[in-house]
Point group: C2
């Protein structure tokens, strides 16, 4: 599939076409509108649709992906087919060209309003590492429920920010076991969690669980996500009601939402289940919804880990089925994340907590030793997945720099 | 202060004036608009403002309280002053009369779009009861952090529903210690939690904690809240990341938001602090923000408990300061709840878990014995607070009936 200005093999070629929201400083006082990434360019999808008299012009001429997300799978497929035509059929070239802008010339924004944000804990390797670090004397690092349900909790949707947003080091209470009382100050154990986020498009009413088989009808696509974590705040606060201020200061997401339709070649079976599953979670007779995403975690440009998403024990379809099995409704813009992605190998761990074994084994980076993040550090998550005909499908990066505590 | 059609001593007299959103089935195809409660009537506040050429006509002619919430304290006071004049000064009587509708003739709606929902755990009596029930052998029922910070967690804002909404019994996994594996089915330990919710009006930017002294600048008012809880789901899922499906199926709020300005006579000092507080939580030199709210919990019309909100260890001002101390931003429509309100006496406990001591001592109701809720049971929370000159300020009720699992 030839497409103008995209080199052969580019992970953002016309086989990918992720969606975002952008603005150009010079134009229309920087109004936001839907963009589709093509190589190192952004297609103003609404302007292109209007020029081509597409029926999707209105849906794509919005300051958020919300209406597109809500439109449902048939429309998602139709819009994707139209976009593919526009960027690949030579006769459209002249029409489209004025609406392609260099990525470097635009500002990217949070692409949709986050309704509820849920974070899961779906990597067995991660959960085992955390168990071993915090409960070294326990015979079993996993909690008894871990293999029976995808553990999750609600996070703060108001502090989900787009890639490129600086993150201020949070302050709060911490108390080591030897401190007589808690102390207050900037976190001294600031960490990241490399995750994948799933974006709900089509809502569901209260009282109507979404079965495994309906995953694709509700979920539009996915993004990369960095669940910034202040380990010292978290460990003091989290018993008995879970993480709160240790997480709620910021969660970064990629500016690009990759539609599930771009990732069909990347679908894989999840790891073999070691425990029988209750029927609503039993995916043995369903289409598999594991994804072969190869994530890379870099600190100050130096790759420190390559977590394989294919190793996740619980799939996004299982997470959605669990999240709604009690009758909880879904809204357009609901975002749920996988939890830290960690593979079995030491260099596949998705958090500094695990990579440095809670600070015991600092990482040697070109910019110095790191147990946890220092002010000024920049963390970048990138990922790709196998695409059609040997191509790669690139996910949008998540980048964030640590600012000193205010 | 005489006001037409409100009996002397009515807890919803002109000293109260809570806000809600209502519609009338006959009019304008049931359009929603801001209402103010006066006795057993609802004033169409926008229509009254337009008739009186008030500068607040636009703010009050909306289908949600959002714009009013966002307008800030000066406007909140000005609007309240205007409303007080309209409903008390005789010369306005004729103008206002057409815009007063009997409560029984209108539908009440969720009064604002809930942004993030946070639930705290601020009653020492409740926390001690829960500790004693679930950890009977522990020497100290409170977790070590309890007296140092207001423990909280995020809930699901998409399933916050207005009073009067039926609640379907949730299904999910449960496992008693003697079960060899978890089982799936409708919750068999469905409970309530009597709480008070605080509604954020004015947002705050990321990285800017809200100090104790700014509580009134951000929080508009409060409501009653029933945090429905499936104890069996909750106890199996909640380690290590906190409550999830045991809570996320529904949270009911009153249709009326009582402005803080109506509750100045109800302000009291919180209980004496037994542990020193870190400076950001130390309210010893601040105006006290405890509230003397007398809550009543009824099951099928029979009062089972009268929890006193004045006994809460952590105040709403402390909760807001804690919630933002890590730099988390606030949005208009953020809702945070107190956690179960339980007083020291057995008949002041705000949950069936405590009232029946985890089912050991069922309640004898006229409708039969109850350990937990049965299908068809209706739970109603009501409350009042001391008002000016010996009056009572009524809070809007929260009512909800249990529907069988779907």
């Amino acid at each position: 599939m030839p497409s103008f200005d995209v080199p052969e093999g580019d992970p953002f070629g016309p086989h990918n076409l992720p969606y975002g929201v952008f603005s150009r400083s010079g134009s229309d006082s920087g109004a936001r509108t839907v963009g589709v990434r093509l190589g190192d360019q952004v297609l103003d999808a609404g302007a292109a649709a209007r020029a081509l008299a597409s029926p999707y012009a209105s849906l794509l001429s919005r300051p958020t992906l919300g209406p597109l997300l809500a439109a449902g799978r048939t429309t998602w497929s139709d819009v994707r087919r139209a976009l593919t035509t526009w960027v690949t059929v030579p006769s459209h070239r002249e029409t489209i060209a004025p609406f392609l802008h260099p990525l470097s010339s635009v500002a990217l924004h949070l692409p949709f309003e986050v309704a509820d944000y849920v974070d899961f804990y779906a990597s067995e390797n991660h959960a085992r590492n955390v168990g071993r670090i915090f409960r070294p004397d326990a015979t079993e690092p996993l909690t008894p429920n871990w293999k029976h349900l995808p553990i999750g909790y609600h996070g703060r949707s108001g502090t989900v920010v787009v890639s490129g947003t600086d993150v201020a080091r949070p302050s709060g209470q911490r108390k080591s076991p030897t401190d007589p009382a808690p102390v207050f100050g900037p976190s001294v154990r600031l960490d990241i969690e490399a995750e994948v986020g799933f974006v709900v498009g089509v809502p569901s009413p209260m009282g109507s669980p979404v079965p495994l088989s309906s995953f694709r009808e509700h979920v539009f696509g996915l993004c990369l996500l960095n669940d910034w974590s202040a380990r010292d705040l978290q460990s003091w606060e989290y018993v008995p009601l879970g993480p709160f201020l240790g997480k709620s200061f910021a969660t970064s997401v990629s500016a690009w939402i990759t539609p599930l339709d771009a990732l069909d070649e990347a679908r894989v079976s999840p790891p073999e289940r070691t425990h029988p599953l209750l029927p609503y979670l039993d995916d043995s007779a369903e289409d598999p919804y594991g994804y072969d995403l190869r994530i890379s975690v870099a600190v100050n440009g130096h790759v420190v880990s390559e977590p394989p998403f294919s190793t996740m024990y619980w799939t996004a379809a299982q997470q959605l089925a669990h999240l709604t099995v009690n009758g909880a409704s879904l809204r357009t813009g609901d975002l749920y994340a996988s939890g830290t992605v960690s593979g079995p190998a030491p260099d596949q761990r998705g958090s500094l907590l695990e990579l440095t074994w809670n600070g015991r084994d600092p990482l040697a980076l070109p910019t110095g030793e790191r147990a946890f993040l220092e002010d000024g550090d920049e963390v970048t998550l990138t990922a790709w997945a196998p695409g059609p005909h040997g191509t790669r499908v690139g996910l949008g990066e998540v980048r964030g720099r640590v600012r000193p505590a205010g």
